[in-house]
Symmetry: C2
Subunit: 310 residues, 2 copies
């Protein structure tokens, strides 16, 4: 493992994330078969760049957003550095890809992925002049409980995260949790933040493995569920579940809260919201129904143990 100083050049991370965006846009357009991603490319101050890509009203994907940003700032906002207050006010760069897919069919799960890299010019020789970390992960939110899908998702996650799978899975279950409902947002996956383990090269390799694994984890599930017919009952349930998704993102998600407070472009911050949602007062799924069975999936569980190793 190399322990050379963190490079101040963000370019390789940016190039990887841009490539990830390009690939996912292509894959998701192929799956939808009709709608295209649209979005401009916006130059940001200091050499940064934002490239939002959003698909809406597709034949099979009701909404998908695959957003790339590279921000360059002269002074790190205090809200961005709660854990590292000494970095506030320093020059920084951040680059990230954020992905959300809300399929039209209630049988295909919603998926979310985020990868970000953060680089701060500390101006302090003791840290070799820079602080950096990776963060991100991916998580899955089904409306219907297909054990095979969830096991596949977690198998791919484990293969990507290796020895870090257990910790990252636990962090994911803890983060995507609605305490007022007593349920997780979905069936989890991977979550990591402030990641520097093993130095830059090892951390970047892990981030790449996780980023590349997202398509392997999600697209087979998506393809498998797209052609199942559904009716009003399933759609109604999907909209209720999407209401929970909106609850999490608006009331609990740190990234959304920070984005709204920091004056970022609101359409980007809220791109993850479901295209439609519903709240039904005191809704309780019928006992013994597939909808009721989903509730058993919305808690931290060992998804791989029951299946045994693959």
């Amino acid at each position: 493992m190399s322990l050379r100083p963190a490079p101040l050049d963000i370019a390789p991370v940016r190039a990887f994330l841009q490539g990830l965006q390009t690939g996912l846009v292509r894959d998701l357009e192929a799956i939808d078969g009709a709608a295209k991603f649209v979005g401009e490319e916006l130059a940001l101050p200091g050499g940064g760049m934002s490239r939002p890509r959003v698909l809406q009203g597709g034949e099979r994907l009701e909404k998908a957003a695959v957003q790339f940003t590279h921000s360059v700032g002269a002074s790190l906002p205090p809200a961005a550095t709660e854990r590292n207050p000494h970095l506030a006010g320093r020059p920084f760069q951040a680059t990230a890809v954020s992905v959300i897919v809300h399929p039209l069919t209630p049988y295909a799960p919603t998926a979310h992925m985020n990868l970000r890299f953060f680089l701060v010019d500390t101006g302090d020789a003791s840290t070799k002049g820079s602080h950096w970390h990776f963060g991100g992960g991916f998580d899955l939110t089904p409306c219907y409980p297909f054990l095979a899908d969830v096991c596949h998702w977690h198998r791919v996650a484990r293969n990507a995260a290796g020895e870090h799978y257990e910790a990252m899975k636990q962090a994911c279950d803890e983060y995507f949790y609605l305490p007022h409902r007593g349920e997780t947002r979905g069936v989890g996956g991977l979550f990591f933040d402030d990641w520097r383990e093993g130095g830059f090269e090892a951390s970047f390799a892990l981030a790449k493995a996780i980023g590349n694994a997202f398509a392997d984890a999600y697209l087979p599930i998506l393809r498998r569920r797209l052609d199942t017919p559904w009716g009003e009952r399933e759609e109604r349930w999907q909209l209720i579940r999407r209401g929970r998704y909106a609850e999490f993102n608006l009331a609990l998600d740190r990234g959304t809260r920070y984005g709204l407070q920091s004056g970022r472009r609101v359409e980007s911050v809220l791109a993850s919201l479901p295209p439609r949602a519903a709240w039904v007062h005191d809704h309780r799924p019928e006992e013994g129904s597939p909808e009721a069975a989903l509730m058993g999936f919305l808690a931290a569980r060992d998804w791989l143990g029951s299946e045994g190793p693959d």
Copy 2:
């Protein structure tokens, strides 16, 4: 004006709020003409009582909630007393009515009303043994800009609040504001908190005037707009506007945040959420359309000045 000590008996306030609930339930059922409010009556510890009333899927009201609660607690939670930290841990009572109406037609505005009374046993002779205040108000959220409706609403508000109208209207505009959108939630109304002005009797009289004014302010507007035919275009716009409503309630509303954090019954805390909502990425109403004209209503404005005194 009487300056007698605040009575420790919460009964008259509770009786007024229960009567307000009963009247509004009756009025709204009459307007809907088909659906009924449902809900149990729950005894709470210490002699408190909760009486939620929710109507869903009506012919003309898609959702309405008129909730009464009277809580009696041995120890005031710190989160309830940010402005009066010395009251934390003291015995308290709180009684409130909370109203939300989401009509089916996009041409009728959503309305919200809340009245609450708070009584804390300070155990301190210098305050005659108790701290109390009133809070609440009402606000209107249209999808379409009918100046006559808004002027009527604010005329009734002014008549109820009297000399306090300007301050309560300003507080309402400031509170129901989405900074990330740069727009108010609706066209405002009245908002007050920690209200003790002129002593208990004057404050209670003002709270009663505002509570009683809600039906006068809202029901004529509701009746006037219920029979206008609408189509897909109006419904789509309504769902987008309801998305903003959900954004405010989930991401910004202090009452909702406190309710979610304090472990109150989630169905009550979130009863104000719209039954359906939508988020359309980067939606912009057509220039010159009624939808675009609404945006001119979503900022603090003097609604009475343009009309002159009535």
